[in-house]
């Protein structure tokens, strides 16, 4: 899978003979080493679930959040280098503010996804900067319904119904494909997302993790919010229970 790009991987301004830009691929590797983000777009909303790996028991709970608010109505979940992701969040907030100043209203997330992807792409063109080592998922809900986009370090942006980025993305995608998300409501999705994150979490390699959940949709009147504590507690309880059930199935 990984190949050594000796000599052609020194800067983003170099192509390899087989047409690859290795710096961008290395940036994508940084994303693959981070905790998984699971995001699902349902009938009337989008739920983010982030497997925030906790490296030390000494960390304060809730620090180093990986879900950001961009303006009031857009959520951004990130995977990869957190410091790079914070800069993307700042740029996204600035774009949203400029849009509001120019056009008098909240920025549509498709427009924001376009602008963020152009910004991230710009850092893949020159030798004196490095590409961003993070992928971001943007979500929003407006009169046209829910919208979700993923932007990778290369600067490509796609719209999704369901996506996963980070180390457990293959396993997560398998789980997501089983779900009939287009008919599900926000509340149904919360439990599904929590369950998927718990399922794909590797207890052996990564010990502790915190589950960050957020949603945006009809139920929040288009505002992006972290999921209320009771809903999160319920979802995590159900997720742990379904893990135990499947574990006991395996024992048989």
């Amino acid at each position: 899978m990984s190949s050594i790009g000796t000599g052609y991987d020194l800067s983003a301004s170099q192509f390899s003979p087989d047409g690859r830009v290795f710096q961008v691929e290395y940036a994508q590797k940084a994303v693959e080493n981070s905790g998984t983000v699971v995001a699902i777009r349902g009938k009337d909303g989008i739920v983010f679930g982030v497997e925030k790996l906790v490296m030390s028991k000494l960390y304060e709970k809730g620090s180093n959040k990986r879900i950001f608010h961009i303006d009031r109505h857009i959520g951004m979940a990130v995977a990869g280098l957190l410091a790079d992701a914070r800069q993307i969040a700042d740029i996204a907030r600035e774009e949203a503010a400029n849009y509001r100043s120019d056009f008098g209203g909240p920025i549509p997330s498709a427009v924001l996804a376009d602008r963020v992807s152009m910004y991230m792409h710009a850092y893949t063109l020159y030798s004196f900067v490095r590409p961003f080592g993070c992928s971001v998922v943007l979500s929003s809900y407006d009169e046209d319904g829910p919208h979700m986009h993923v932007i990778e370090p290369s600067g490509v942006a796609y719209g999704y119904y369901g996506c996963a980025i980070g180390k457990g993305k293959q396993a997560a995608k398998t789980e997501i494909e089983k779900i009939k998300m287009k008919e599900m409501s926000m509340h149904e999705l919360v439990n599904e997302v929590a369950r998927i994150v718990y399922t794909i979490h590797d207890e052996v390699k990564d010990k502790a993790f915190e589950l960050e959940l957020s949603w945006v949709g009809k139920g929040t009147e288009g505002l992006h919010q972290f999921i209320p504590a009771e809903v999160q507690e319920e979802a995590e309880k159900l997720a742990k229970k379904s893990l135990e059930d499947s574990d006991s199935d395996e024992d048989m």
């Binding site: 608010h69 009031r72 907030r93 503010a97 509001r100 972290f226």
Partner: protein, 264 residues
């Protein structure tokens, strides 16, 4: 012999020189250092265009009310009659502004954007009335110091640390807090009414405060030629979130007009 030294006199040694007592533009001098203020496009004497009249507020037991009528005057023309001159900043803070409407809209958009940024951070900190009041004072003072003022007089009200807060900021950066504040004509007409009532009853309840404010608006409509009988109130209390109520109108009696002669 002294001909050349007189103003307007012909003097072959001293052509086109500075006339005594007059400003002189030295040739080949950089425009910024010119003594004629009007030459510099960035320093201009501003004139407000669409204006709002008085804004005033009063503290009561456990809260504050800030009121402003809904008129945007274009000079003496009552041009825009459904303009809201009040802004709900967040659950604990409100403000109202008199003076230039465009400057108010500008400050409104800046404040709204800052509130959004604060909501994005979600770090548990929220703008308090005093913080907004202080920031507005600094902005107004710095703008006036550069001869480019925001032509507004603002009243900031809210709940600060559980206590009612009421402040006044001028276009030149004058700022103070008081149990009752008023701008424009309100300072001459409404303020005495507010202070009189507070002297008789230092602690008002919300209903009494609303009645007092309505009385002030009534008198202002009678007397201020740039006012309008349609007003809004912004109310913040310890127990409830900030809200803007209205529009209201005062009951006015113009019967006295019949006893004024010469206008039949």
């Amino acid at each position: 012999m002294y001909q050349g030294l007189l103003p307007g006199g012909d003097d072959s040694f001293w052509q086109n020189g500075p006339r005594p007592g007059a400003f002189y533009s030295f040739p080949n001098h950089l425009p910024k250092q010119s003594t004629k203020v009007t030459e510099d496009p960035f320093r201009c004497t501003l004139n407000p265009m669409v204006t709002g009249t008085s804004v005033f507020g009063v503290k009561f037991d456990g809260g504050v009310i800030v009121g402003a009528d809904t008129l945007g005057s274009y000079g003496s023309l009552a041009r825009y009659r459904q303009v809201s001159r009040l802004l709900r900043v967040n659950d604990t803070t409100v403000m109202g502004s008199g003076g230039d409407c465009a400057d108010f809209q500008f400050i409104k958009s800046v404040i709204e954007q800052r509130v959004i940024e604060e909501q994005c951070l979600e770090d548990g900190f929220k703008f308090t009335p005093k913080a907004l009041f202080n920031w507005l004072t600094r902005v107004h003072y710095n703008r006036r110091s550069r001869f480019n003022p925001l032509w507004n007089t603002t009243v900031v009200g809210g709940i600060e640390n559980g206590e009612p807060f009421l402040g006044y900021v001028d276009k030149i950066g004058t700022a103070f807090e008081a149990p009752s504040v008023a701008s424009g004509y309100g300072a001459y007409i409404a303020q005495p009414l507010l202070r009189d009532e507070l002297e008789k009853h230092p602690v008002l309840n919300e209903r009494q405060a609303k009645e007092l404010i309505d009385r002030c608006f009534k008198v202002l409509f009678y007397r201020d030629a740039r006012s309008w009988n349609r007003y809004e109130l912004a109310i913040v209390t310890r127990d409830s979130k900030a809200r803007i109520e209205g529009p209201f109108s005062s009951e006015t009696d113009w019967d006295i007009a019949y006893s004024v002669g010469g206008y039949e």
